[in-house]
């Protein structure tokens, strides 16, 4: 089973915030974390990832800084801001509420004679 783009679209920012909330990270590693967290069920395209980083940086949810790698190229790390953490907390609460309702709406059945 694969998760469709439409289904996950609204959650990409939250996914990234959740990962960055655990530690600062850079693009490729965030992509890997998505794979690990989803147990290989979901692959976030890197192009999508970079677009999301830009969006989150603009909205003030994350900031970035350059690492001080001594060898190889310097990595650009992303860090969640207090505003981003607040958004994440809100998004998690929203999800906890919505997932049950949506699940009910999609799979629930109306018992015969039930009315309100």
């Amino acid at each position: 089973m694969a998760i469709s783009k439409d289904l996950i679209r609204g959650h990409i920012d939250t996914i990234i915030l959740n990962i960055l909330n655990q530690s600062d990270s850079y693009g490729y590693q965030v992509g890997k974390s998505v794979r690990i967290l989803s147990q290989n069920q979901y692959d976030l395209n890197e192009a999508t990832l970079y677009t999301a980083f830009r969006r989150l940086e603009k909205s003030g949810d994350i900031t970035s800084y350059w690492g001080d790698e001594t060898q190889g190229a310097r990595r650009k790390y992303y860090k969640i801001t207090p505003a981003g953490q607040a958004h994440l907390t809100h998004a998690i609460a929203e999800w906890a509420f919505a997932k049950n309702v949506i699940s009910q709406l999609i799979t629930g059945t109306i018992a015969e004679g039930e009315e309100s």
């Binding site: 850079y26 147990q39 190229a73």
Partner: protein, 438 residues
């Protein structure tokens, strides 16, 4: 600068050359260099050559044109204010918020030493550098990941939590073909502990006998057909089909119009699949013949071993790992084909999409075709062979050594052989696109 970094930069230069340079683009390019280097290192572990790992690293990047266009249009903005905000905190702090001593933090979030050592009770998380990560869902030690919960496809014989009705049937095995015909169910094939019985367990989210499958035997076949399927409301259905471990003469045909199918540890004579919309996931499947037709869906199978395989996917992706098929006919109309550790021969075709094939060993000729798209092939490690590569519109790139002999060698047509003792031929053709051979 290493030669790898140089190669990455050169390729990026080509991609970036379409855009007017500005600060944002330069910064983004630097970011990409580091990430691509990482990706390259990962691919280099399994890929044979430098070039191949480089192509794979760039392939997983996806389409960055949109973001490049965006960045090339952004004006430099006051982006310095964010940096001035990060205030310097003092070396030692002790308050109700917790204890901070240099980069050692003990507070409501747990115990952290820099970013490397994290003990976080609230989220049940322990992390030691990049090497050990343990949390509720699993543990990652080095590069290995261990999952704690047992939500694996292997554990499919349990009753789903939403089930309110259970129908169980046992059918003696037979040389006649078995046809399972479902409209919309989650189907799990697994190997049971019986010697000569097929076990069928159906679970439903509503309780009514008329949903139960109907089992019929005729002279030609034994059919198991999904029961009534109400149109007005949805009845969730899961079917677990247990087959004897060595059902080597078994002929199974599974039809599912929409829904998913999982199969694990099967050893059969014939395993056919018709899936209209949905996904198929398999692990360790062995059969003489396999005929799979998928209309729109994703197919992911590990360890498959067939004599003849006919796989057709109209739209969707096909990912096969550890595939041994003497005679393969693989066709994907629109979508990608990714095959790793392939042993065998046959035909592979995509109409629109890419074909990525890593060959372990050839046991027959191979014919590869992509109408619009790309073909990328990794040659077997230690096996000589002939090659015949042509691109009607496009180009061919090939790694060659002193043992490569060319009969013809142009940009769009290459034929010849590798080594002293070639036996089988790899024939590849693209209408418009590229062929790359490593």
């Amino acid at each position: 600068m290493t030669s790898i970094e140089m190669a990455i930069r050169t390729r990026l230069d080509v991609i970036f050359s379409k855009y007017t340079p500005n600060e944002q683009l330069t910064e983004f390019k630097e970011e990409l260099v580091a990430d691509l280097l990482d990706a390259y290192q990962d691919f280099a572990k399994q890929d044979k050559s430098h070039d191949e790992a480089l192509d794979d690293a760039f392939a997983q990047l996806g389409d960055i044109d949109t973001i490049l266009r965006e960045l090339s249009q952004t004006k430099k903005q006051e982006n310095d204010d964010s940096k001035s905000q990060t205030k310097k905190s003092s070396f030692f702090e002790f308050s109700n918020d917790g204890l901070h001593l240099g980069n050692l933090h003990i507070d409501g979030q747990g115990v952290r030493l820099g970013d490397d050592i994290v003990i976080d009770g609230k989220h049940d998380k322990v992390q030691l550098g990049d090497w050990l990560h343990v949390d509720r869902s699993g543990a990652r030690v080095g590069r290995k990941y261990y999952r704690f919960d047992e939500d694996e496809p292997s554990d499919t014989t349990h009753t789903p939590s939403w089930s309110v009705a259970h129908h169980n049937a046992q059918i003696p095995t037979s040389d006649k073909p078995f046809v399972f015909d479902y409209k919309n169910a989650d189907v799990h094939f697994y190997s049971n502990d019986k010697a000569d019985l097929i076990t069928l367990d159906e679970f439903f989210s509503r309780d009514n006998n008329r949903y139960f499958a109907d089992i019929q035997e005729t002279n030609e076949q034994i059919s198991v057909t999904q029961g009534d399927n109400p149109l007005l409301f949805h009845v969730r259905t899961q079917v677990n089909i247990g087959l004897p471990k060595d059902f080597n003469h078994g002929k199974i045909t599974m039809i599912n119009h929409s829904g998913r199918i999982m199969a694990q540890d099967l050893s059969l004579q014939q395993f056919n699949l018709y899936l209209h919309a949905g996904n198929f996931r398999g692990n360790h499947i062995q059969a003489e013949t396999a005929n799979w037709q998928i209309h729109a869906g994703e197919v992911k199978v590990q360890e498959l071993n067939f004599k003849h395989a006919d796989i057709f996917n109209k739209s969707g992706n096909l990912k096969l790992d550890n595939m041994t098929v003497e005679d393969s006919h693989i066709t994907v109309t629109s979508g990608t084909v990714q095959i790793s550790h392939f042993t065998g021969g046959g035909q592979f075709a995509t109409h629109t999409g890419s074909l990525r094939l890593r060959i372990d060993k050839l046991t027959d000729d191979l014919k590869l075709q992509a109408k619009t798209g790309s073909i990328r092939v990794t040659m077997p490690e230690s096996q000589d062979c002939y090659f015949n590569l042509s691109a009607n519109m496009g180009s061919i790139v090939m790694d060659h050594t002193e043992t490569t002999h060319f009969d013809k060698n142009t940009n769009s047509y290459k034929c010849g052989f590798y080594g002293d003792n070639p036996k089988f031929t790899i024939d590849a053709n693209v209408d418009s696109g590229t062929i790359k051979v490593y």
